[in-house]
């Protein structure tokens, strides 16, 4: 089945996690140790438990999995509501990023039940009991659910994600686009750079130092198809590289996990086609 969007429901039930033991291949400092089970709410009829990854690299201790339980009747509908409730009422040391609480800022991207998604738009009705909450797979943990985005943001900077045009801006009005030209940005401009896709991409796991990853390639595509940008050739020159672009092997984890329902896999294929178009 070709994956076209994360809205697709798979016909098969796939394992939530790749079936290997949890600590397989982890460096000694990353091995997960048993954590704390926090007290359950009293008198609750609908209890939801969370197994949350806790790690503070500065403490010198190994990561652990803490178990929290909340009363669904006294909690908002989304996972982020539950995390905020845990932080407010159970354990104030739990650390995570959050801002807009409605899926437009991309701060609360995390690995929920084995799938990268935004905590603020993952309904508690959709998660397992108990549910696992881990940080994004591919980033050094700063604390708990907060990953270090320095490298992926530097990769973003490396594709010059701004308008490069030799034609001076027209006086008195903006650089104009026809509705058709604007339409080409659909499916690109909605990206909020939450890095759910890049963190789920095996090619970026193995070669993330050189492969740009789906989020950044989607952004590169956004500037390649912009009718106002005049650096298309230079941009393609920069992208044509066995690692920067061609490390994408169309695994399509990116499209499967995009919480905005975008299709980065298709956009990467379009970049490859653009390079082929100018060669023949």
């Amino acid at each position: 089945m070709l994956i076209k969007s994360s809205k697709q429901v798979s016909r098969w039930r796939t394992p939530k996690r790749f079936p290997v033991s949890r600590n397989s291949g982890a460096s000694p400092a990353s091995r997960i140790e048993p954590g704390v089970s926090w007290p359950e709410p009293e008198g609750a009829t609908r209890v939801q438990r969370f197994k949350v990854y806790r790690h503070d690299p500065e403490s010198g201790k190994n990561p652990r999995i803490d178990t929290y339980a909340i009363d669904r009747d006294k909690c908002g509908p989304m996972l982020l509501d539950a995390l905020i409730k845990i932080k407010n009422e159970i354990d104030p040391t739990l650390t995570f990023r959050r801002s807009c609480r409605e899926g437009v800022c991309g701060s609360c991207a995390m690995n929920i039940d084995g799938t990268n998604w935004l905590a603020c738009i993952r309904s508690l009705d959709e998660i397992s009991e108990p549910s696992t909450v881990y940080p994004l797979n591919n980033m050094d943990v700063i604390k708990d659910l907060v990953g270090d985005q320095t490298h992926v943001l530097a990769q973003y900077q490396s594709i010059t994600p701004w308008l490069r045009s030799k034609t001076p801006a027209p006086a008195g009005h903006e650089r104009l686009q026809s509705p058709e030209e604007r339409k080409r940005l659909d499916g690109d401009y909605e990206c909020i750079l939450c890095f759910c896709c890049t963190a789920g991409c095996p090619s970026h796991w193995w070669n993330g130092d050189r492969f740009l990853g789906p989020a950044i390639l989607l952004q590169a595509h956004r500037w390649l198809v912009d009718s106002r940008d005049e650096a298309t050739g230079e941009r393609l020159d920069e992208l044509e590289d066995p690692f920067k672009l061609y490390r994408c092997h169309t695994i399509l984890n990116c499209t499967r996990t995009c919480p905005k329902g975008l299709n980065p896999g298709k956009k990467i294929a379009e970049i490859k086609l653009m390079i082929q178009q100018r060669r023949s």
Partner: protein, 140 residues
């Protein structure tokens, strides 16, 4: 980025480096190649679809024949030429695919370069043996 992930061919980023994240993300820049590899991999894949269907169907048709029958069939000019084309597409495709696997998973430069040379030479050797066998059956 984790140290174990930093494949650092020129030792530009030793543990004491104070270089910027952008410097590390840019690395050695674009190789400005890769499109040819991508295109040829697709061309050979397209070629292999009919060729492999033909090969499997032909082998099934000769399943009841003995060695002599199969050798005679392979010796026919059209079959020998098709077989040579199939072997070229197959081993070229194999060379390109194995190269990607090595680049994906082997990160120590010396081992990687040795493995890439080995992949190319082994595929070339297998191709030479296969084409020689086809011609041998055609011209003996």
């Amino acid at each position: 980025m984790s140290d174990w992930k930093r494949h650092d061919p020129l030792n530009r980023n030793p543990a004491t480096a104070r270089s910027s994240a952008l410097y590390r993300a840019i690395g050695l820049g674009s190789a400005k190649s890769g499109a040819h590899h991508w295109w040829v991999q697709r061309v050979t894949a397209v070629a292999l679809v009919p060729l492999l269907v033909w090969l499997v169907a032909s082998l099934l048709a000769h399943a009841r024949g003995d060695h002599q029958v199969l050798a005679l069939w392979l010796g026919q000019p059209a079959v020998a030429v098709t077989m040579a084309v199939l072997l070229m597409a197959l081993f070229w495709h194999m060379k390109l695919g194995l190269r990607v696997i090595v680049e994906d998973y082997v990160h120590a430069d010396r081992v990687k370069f040795a493995a890439l040379i080995a992949v190319d030479l082994v595929c070339l050797a297998l191709l030479a043996i296969g084409v020689f066998a086809s011609l041998y059956l055609a011209f003996r």
